[in-house]
């Protein structure tokens, strides 16, 4: 087997914040092409930081991150190159408020990849159609609901034709009735074979979409299991406690 067996490999990653608090400790794991990994864990466990490290938004102190068998943390490749292969969607959507939906999704393809407006435009319309927002093409972000904004943000990331998508609590800021429309888009991506790393608090969704659940606590992997195993009979006490938070009894 060649090195490219794994799409993303993380080896002995160490990450601490400026104050000195360690967020990720000797962290290693790998993701295969087409695999959907959902990362769960209590707040402050380092799950969002992990995604941000993979996208180069946070400096790391030690370890390596490999994409397609190539190190992306050795400083040899520009992050702007690497980030084209890694799509990221944030909790707060962060659409560019001064641009229309269409301008938002075309900015990267035109300015970073140097694609033509015709070609990228066709691709953009197709993707907008897929998430049901083609008629909002010329709307400004402020005219959209939260769920619609988040779907546009997903399209914006997909426009770069990434090899892997990172979702950082993308439904956490949404009203409950809008969560579904966003999750449906991600489910459809999974069916299409997209490799994804998803941080979420939606347990039902995690169970449905994940090929593998990664449970983090205090900057380390506590459990890594298939969803039915993790939710059915979690092995560690920490995971059990975490899952109990989502159970209600009267």
């Amino acid at each position: 087997m060649s090195k490219t067996d794994y799409l993303l490999e993380i080896k002995n990653l160490e990450k601490s914040f400026e104050g000195g608090t360690k967020v990720l400790k000797d962290f290693s794991f790998s993701v295969q092409t087409g695999e959907v990994v959902v990362i769960l864990g209590p707040s402050g466990c380092g799950k969002s930081t992990l995604l941000r490290c993979i996208n180069g938004l946070e400096p790391i102190q030690a370890g390596t991150i490999l994409l397609d068998g190539q190190s992306i943390t050795d400083g040899k490749t520009k992050w702007s190159q690497i980030r084209q292969k890694i799509g990221m969607v944030f909790q707060s959507y962060d659409l560019f408020p001064h641009m229309t939906v269409f301008e938002n999704i075309l900015l990267g393809p035109l300015k970073v990849q140097g694609r033509t407006r015709e070609e990228a435009g066709i691709a953009g319309e197709k993707l907008l159609e897929r998430v049901g927002l083609l008629e909002k093409k010329d709307a400004y972000p402020r005219q959209l609901s939260g769920g619609q904004k988040q779907r546009v943000a997903i399209v914006r990331a997909l426009m770069m034709e990434p090899e892997i998508m990172l979702f950082d609590e993308v439904t956490a800021a949404l009203d409950p009735e809008m969560v579904r429309e966003v999750l449906d888009v991600i489910l459809e991506l999974a069916r299409g074979g997209m490799t994804m790393l998803i941080v979420t608090h939606e347990m039902q969704f995690a169970r449905a979409i994940a090929d593998r659940i990664l449970f983090l606590d205090e900057g380390q992997i506590v459990e890594s299991a298939a969803p039915e195993d993790f939710f059915g009979h979690p092995e560690t006490e920490r995971a059990q406690r975490f899952l109990n938070i989502f159970q209600f009894e009267k």
Binding site: N55, S92, P97, A153
Partner: protein
């Protein structure tokens, strides 16, 4: 009121207003460039430069234009730096205005959320592209109200230009009061001249502000 006197001296006021306005134009333009440069060095925390800029901003904001002009016009020639009246006025206004423009632009830059930069990074834009396509367009629109206020403030500040021997509106008014004792007429023309200059600008500014607010980005 001596209306004949007034109509006789209107052209003199127009001439003076023109002097004021053209100097104000160049001073304000220059102050915008200084302000843009300073706000960017402060925003990006450019080492060393940011300290120089911060010192300049404090010096400029905490001293009156009148005193700055006295120093430029009467002080500097003593060490061989002779600057013309016009240049003194423009330099003084730009020195004062640069810091105000810098603060206005900086408040705009800082209003752009961190998430915007991260989102731009994550589609692969580089630093220069992020500034150009994401940060500046948003910052400028937030800065429009304070920038407009600064322009009006700076035009008002030009009223001290007479101290560097420029025949501006104040100079003409004082002349007429001193020479002919036509106080009422001179002051009326003075007030009307400033209204004629500042009222349209002030109305234009508030229209522009409303436009910007209407196009407001609030998520």
């Amino acid at each position: 009121m001596d209306w004949n006197f007034i109509s006789e001296y209107v052209p003199m006021y127009i001439q003076a207003a023109w002097t004021t306005l053209s100097l104000a134009f160049w001073g304000i333009l220059l102050s915008l460039f200084i302000g843009l440069f300073c706000s960017l060095t402060l925003y990006f925390k450019v080492p060393v430069l940011k300290r120089v800029t911060a010192a300049y901003v404090e010096l400029s904001r905490n001293t009156p234009l009148l005193v700055q002009l006295f120093f430029l016009y009467f002080g500097l020639p003593k060490i061989g730096i002779v600057i013309s009246s016009q240049s003194c006025a423009i330099i003084g206004l730009a020195f004062l205005g640069g810091s105000y423009m810098s603060e206005a632009l900086r408040s705009g830059l800082e209003s752009v959320e961190k998430g915007q930069v991260e989102a731009a990074l994550s589609v692969g834009l580089n630093q220069g592209q992020i500034v150009r396509y994401v940060i500046l367009p948003q910052a400028v629109s937030v800065s429009v109200p304070p920038l407009c206020a600064n322009i009006i403030f700076l035009i008002k500040e030009t009223s001290v230009f007479s101290v560097v021997a420029l025949a501006d509106l104040m100079y003409v008014a004082k002349d007429l009061i001193g020479l002919y004792y036509k106080t009422d007429e001179a002051l009326l023309l003075l007030v009307l001249s400033y209204l004629a200059i500042l009222l349209p600008i002030s109305i234009a500014a508030s229209v522009l502000e409303r436009r910007v607010r209407y196009a407001g980005f609030g998520n």
